[in-house]
Amino acid sequence: MKFSGAEIIIKLLERQGVKTIAGIPGGANLPMYDALSQSDAIKHVLTRHEQGAGFIAQGMARVTGKPAVFFATSGPGATNTLTAIADAKLDSIPIICITGQVPQSMIGTDAFQEVDTYGLTVPITKHNYLVRSVEELLEVIPNAFRIAISGRPGPVVVDVPKDVQMAMLEIDEWPEPGKRGAGSELISVEIERAATMINNAEKPIFYFGGGITQSGSAVDALAAAEKGSIPSTLTLMGLGVIPNDHPLNLGMLGMHAARYTNMALEECDLLIAVGVRFDDRATGKVPEFCPNAKIVHIDIDPSELDKIKTSTASVTGDVSDILKALLPMIEQNDRSQWLSRVDTLKQENPMLIPGADDPATPYGVILKVAELAGEDAIVATDVGQHQMRTAQAYPFKHPRQWLTSGGLGTMGFGLPAAIGAAFAAPDRTVICFTGDGSIMMNIQELATAMEHDVNVKIILTNNNALGLVRQQQDLFYGKRYFASDYTRRVDFTRIAQGFGITTYDFSRTDDPAAMLAKAIAAPGPALIHVPISADEPVYPMVPPGAANIEMIGGESND
């Protein structure tokens, strides 16, 4: 039977099990849209901006761990996707962006809506393709999926000129869907050496990151920590890997860690880094990070080993396989002296949550939402103070419960990622913590939320400022607030109402807890407006470039 390139793409996506594609049509990808319109298996989500489509795909991929696909046309369609793709690269999220391109005969002529999508996406993808014939699609599409999920996951761009979409090809047999490739063999000597170092350590700490989530090995990570009684700190990407209330959980490390967490890291004699990349927000000044510790680094990506900090021993491979191999070699040990020392640090320097009991405060609203939404809720954030507060205070229980832009720190991530999460898990409540700065960067997707009636509750803490910028100006720029306060206010509840979203406003109630309960219990999208002061910094804070032990604020007064 004969198929057009566009029909082949859709057929191959169906065979990959794709159920939802977000995107926007335009001149150069209309053949793909025409073919998509004939698909019963795939639902299309028309977004209001291609960046929104990219983050919806990310939301789906982050919740399921499976690659998610989005569409954009050539030129501005493609350039609008770039931030969402770069974001996926830094957080290792498997998304596949399929763009239309001008016909090959017009490439390089500055044709209408022509841009070098291939060239633009080289540095922000795991791999990218410019498809040059209809035959190539049979290889490229399965390969895109294989690449996106094999090894360390990441984004793939497939740029398809319009003539390739329209070219016809006789097909008798479809290629196998792209699957995760087998990882490299583990080297047992590496694992034995790591085990010996762990068993010999008196004051070890596990440093768990997004790699644990990616490899589905949270259970193995917890088992290893419990067997050796090893306190465990989590990166921003690793929150949820160890349940928040577990006695060995030290919480997040780094710039906005609890004081005791960074202090414990200062004292540890072995840091066992698993599925992490020593990001500067986590390590602070690298030479002074864990100054007394040997380092075991375990990661699937060999280029991460010794990139930032030279490790004493390293193990390359899928951290799930490695942790499983490591577990029987880790000796049962109660490490009572070390645990009691960590406990003393924790008692003397706890994480302080100001306003925890008042749901109308920046931290209090997070805790109240957590209580009302329950353990099964998915939590997305934007970027800024609200994000750090959520990372510090939200009681995460499971991996893939927490969606945040870690590496790129993209304001505008939250709302579309939450919408994507709602598509991937329609039966769960999705919370989106955002701020007045961030939500403006993809606010148009309120229309998408309304149209699809997704169960997304937007908690908008509004300080009419770019809070984290303002906080840096407060602490490090002599309180010279510039370009961080908005001079006038916008009315977010009216904006949301204009988009057809139900709104709740804390400034119009005496009982914010009851209002919150009502908002979260009602089905469908809602925006909850929480006015807050701009003068409430996120503490503790390590100054950028300083060592983690040089924390500002968050001291206990007891």
């Binding site: 291939y118 060239g119 080289v122 540095p123 795991k126 791999h127 990218n128 393709y129 410019l130 690449i147 990506d301 060999p302 280029s303 010794d306 990139k307």
Partner: protein
């Protein structure tokens, strides 16, 4: 004189490969002193030789190059490679 080395990459031969390989170095501000590229046999694969100054980051660059989907092999020649000896004759 700065110590130099040659990386010999075996790559899939298509128009984007050079851009992937060169981008890896340029975006890390790692200077490529010399470059040569030729298709092998039928032209399905190519060889790229890169003449590089030995810097502390070189090991990282080798690992990054090895990660590229289109790169199927990386060899390091610390003693240099005759392809550049011959090319040097053209710039005398």
């Amino acid at each position: 004189m700065t110590k130099q080395t040659v990386l010999e990459l075996t790559v899939k031969n298509h128009p984007g490969v050079m851009s992937h390989v060169c981008g890896l170095f340029s975006r890390r501000a790692y200077n490529v002193e010399g470059i040569a590229c030729m298709p092998v046999n039928g032209g399905g694969t190519s060889k790229i030789w890169l003449l590089l100054n030995v810097e502390k980051r070189l090991d990282q660059m080798v690992k990054q190059a090895d990660k590229l989907e289109d790169v199927t092999g990386v060899e390091r020649h610390d003693g240099g490679h005759e392809v550049f000896d011959k090319m040097a004759e053209f710039v005398r």
